[in-house]
């Protein structure tokens, strides 16, 4: 009762990275509130799964192992998590902000009539005094997230309802092993009583890996390259940086004509107009036709060995130098400062 719960996603016998990050965060939230950390794993063929989970400082592992429960489908997982939450009454429930967690958590919140905050970037414990009634709430979960297209950062609380539910994206929290020798209890969930045949009406016919289509128009972060990148080979660096930052790669017309990058990624008057939060222009001189397609970006960084490149006039930051030296450093220091 009154503990911190983490719903763990599982893919081919392995706990998802985002779930391990949540367990790490869950451990510190539980310690801060002097309660236990409990993990929920629902799937099939889960023998020895605790070995992946206990090192994160999990005190209790709730497990439902049944071949009908993998791959994930909404209804049986929702029925089991709802039943378990009603029985165990957690104070906090955490889910990955993934196509599974964002499918499941709202359904649970609706069924339990409790609050849920999506895509949190920080989770903290704090107190709250309601202004009107002067009512005091101790040890609430502060769910901090960007909203409004990233223009504001909001702190959301659920003063009255339990559990306090939140989803968090992969890569936001650190993945930290608590102690390799840590052992907790395993509890088999008595899940059959919560399931009915109606929960299995949706069938997964087929699943396969498939890259999603290029969509630079809606990207929040864009790493763009121009003719100055020099080669298709050097463009790999841009892909690496975009991958780390969670952005997309784009190119100027000159880079597309030079065969460094495909046409769908072209920014500018004859390409796509973009307005991301961050536009990193690498080796782009910044002809007016290119600037017309990106000058509404919120923050522009220009990396160019020519200090007089026209793009620098509209950039917030200009780094003068060799991009093959600068980009790896950006990756390095991004990782250092986030993890």
């Amino acid at each position: 009762m009154d503990n911190v719960f983490v719903y763990c996603e599982i893919e081919e016998g392995k706990i998802a990275e985002v779930s391990l990050e949540l367990l790490s965060k869950g451990r510190s939230l539980a310690t801060r509130q002097n309660c236990s950390l409990e993990a929920v794993v629902i799937g099939s063929g889960l023998k020895d799964i605790e070995k992946q989970i206990f090192p994160y400082g999990v005190d209790v592992l709730h497990i439902a192992d049944d071949k009908r429960l993998y791959p994930y489908t909404t209804l049986p997982h929702a029925a089991i998590v709802k039943g378990l939450f009603e029985q165990e009454k957690p104070r906090i429930g955490l889910f990955g902000a993934t196509s599974v967690g964002r499918d499941l958590a709202p359904r649970i919140a609706s069924a339990l009539k409790c609050g849920l905050t999506a895509d949190c970037t920080e989770l903290e414990i704090g107190n709250h005094t309601e202004i009107k009634t002067k009512k005091e709430f101790r040890d609430l979960l502060y769910q901090i997230r960007p909203a409004f297209g990233g223009n504001i950062i909001a702190t959301i609380i659920n003063p009255e309802t339990r559990p306090q539910l939140a989803t968090v994206r992969e890569g936001v929290m650190k993945n930290e092993i608590h102690s390799t020798g840590h052992k907790g209890d395993i509890k088999e969930i008595d899940y059959q009583k919560w399931l009915s045949d109606d929960d299995f009406v949706i069938k997964v016919i087929e699943r396969h890996i498939e890259k999603s289509k290029v969509n630079i128009k809606n990207a929040g972060i864009i790493v763009a390259g121009g003719y100055g990148v020099g080669s298709k080979e050097n463009f790999k660096l841009l892909y690496e940086l975009a991958g780390v930052l969670g952005g997309e790669v784009a190119g100027s017309r000159a880079a597309v004509d030079g065969g460094f990058v495909e046409h769908e990624r072209q920014v500018g008057q004859t390409g796509v107009t973009v307005r991301p939060k961050l536009y990193i222009a690498c080796g782009i001189s910044g002809q007016i036709q290119h600037r017309a397609g990106m000058d509404q970006s919120v923050i522009i960084i220009s990396i160019n060995n020519d200090p007089g490149a026209p793009i620098n006039q509209i950039a917030d930051y200009t780094i003068v130098g060799d991009l093959t030296e600068i980009i790896p450093k950006m990756i390095k220091y991004y990782q250092k400062n986030t993890k």
């Binding site: 791959p71 489908t73 909404t74 993934t98 196509s99 964002r102 499918d103 499941l104 709202p106 359904r107 919140a109 609706s110 849920l116 905050t117 999506a118 895509d119 970037t121 709250h128 960007p146 909203a147 409004f148 297209g149 990233g150 223009n151 504001i152 950062i153 909001a154 702190t155 959301i156 009255e160 936001v172 009406v201 949706i202 069938k203 997964v204 016919i205 699943r207 396969h208 890996i209 498939e210 809606n218 972060i221 939060k277 961050l278 919120v298 923050i299 620098n312 917030d316 930051y317 780094i319 003068v320 130098g321 600068i326 450093k329 950006m330 220091y333 991004y334 250092k336 400062n337 986030t338």
Partner: protein, 291 residues
């Protein structure tokens, strides 16, 4: 295959790409009046999926349902111009301040009133909140199965539908019974533009609220062509429990709002030295630009 009855849920959203200083009210809720309003992009992807089913299965009808202030009738008209058949606007001051739970409660009551139906299709999430919660919560309240993150409705058979769903690293194909709630991902095809024929037909479609200060001629036109009426429903029309609406029906509260301050357009010149790059990345992380 018979025609389907489809309800498309859509939201008029502030264009978060054009946010000014007065965008938020003191209580932390959005000051919608101060922002340009647009048809939520993924709801347009959802509408397109519905329109494709209408192309494929003659006799299909599309009803657009939205909740919002009076001016949200604009997106119902916009949907009609592209091929939707009619629309309902849930509008009442008592809905104000609703979080996703209270919103899905209200929408689910309206959907029940529009029963029977085969499909509820909506966008995965709206750009003002990016929560992706209303679709699944509506499904739960209707006690229906759901398919979220849909990229394509592949086929509809008797009582059965096949849908492709977008995952982080791949896709999956699901088979589900009808009725069903589907939320559509932005990787689905973009919505078709307005159709000239429908734009002329529905040009004078108006909600009751919009008709209040209008001329006699207009009222007569509406009487002669009943399809021009955009239906308006209030709290009483959907028989809602007031406790479950607005701020009292919303378990989540906004404790604090922090504006992300954008730096001025003065260029700062950095060197490739480690310190400079380290500081730059720190600044971007602290400013919530990345991370």
């Amino acid at each position: 295959m018979r025609g389907l009855k489809i309800i498309v849920l859509a939201k008029q959203v502030p264009d978060t790409r054009n946010v000014g200083k007065d965008a938020m009210k003191a209580d932390g809720t959005v000051n919608r009046a101060a922002l340009p309003a647009i048809f939520n992009p993924e709801d347009l992807n959802a509408l397109e999926q519905a329109l494709r089913l209408k192309d494929k299965y003659p006799g299909t009808t599309i009803t657009l349902l939205t909740m919002g202030p009076g001016r949200a009738a604009e997106i119902i008209r916009e949907a009609m111009y592209r091929g939707a058949d009619n629309g309902y606007l849930l509008t009442d001051r008592k809905f104000a301040g609703s979080d996703t739970l209270a919103t899905s409660y209200a929408l689910s009551l309206a959907i029940k009133k529009l029963s029977p139906f085969d499909l509820v299709i909506t966008g995965r999430q709206a750009i003002d909140g990016d929560t992706a919660q209303v679709g699944p919560q509506v499904a739960e309240k209707l006690d229906l199965p759901q398919i979220t993150y849909a990229e394509e409705i592949i086929s509809v058979g008797k009582k059965k539908i096949t849908v492709k769903r977008r995952l982080e690293r791949g896709v999956e194909t699901l088979e589900a019974p009808l009725p069903l709630v589907i939320t559509v991902h932005s990787s689905a095809p973009e919505c078709r533009p307005r159709h000239a024929k429908y734009t002329i037909k529905y040009k004078h479609a108006r909600s009751l609220g919009e008709l209040q200060d209008t001329s006699e001629d207009y009222l007569q036109l509406q009487k002669d062509r009943p399809y021009l009426l955009i239906n308006e429903w209030s709290v009483t029309d959907i028989d809602a429990d007031l406790e479950q609406l607005g701020l009292s029906g919303s378990p989540t509260k906004v404790k604090k709002i922090e504006n992300v301050v954008f730096t001025s357009r003065e260029t700062r010149v950095l060197s490739p030295a480690d310190d400079d790059i380290d500081n730059l990345m720190k600044e971007l992380i602290e400013g919530h630009t990345i991370g």
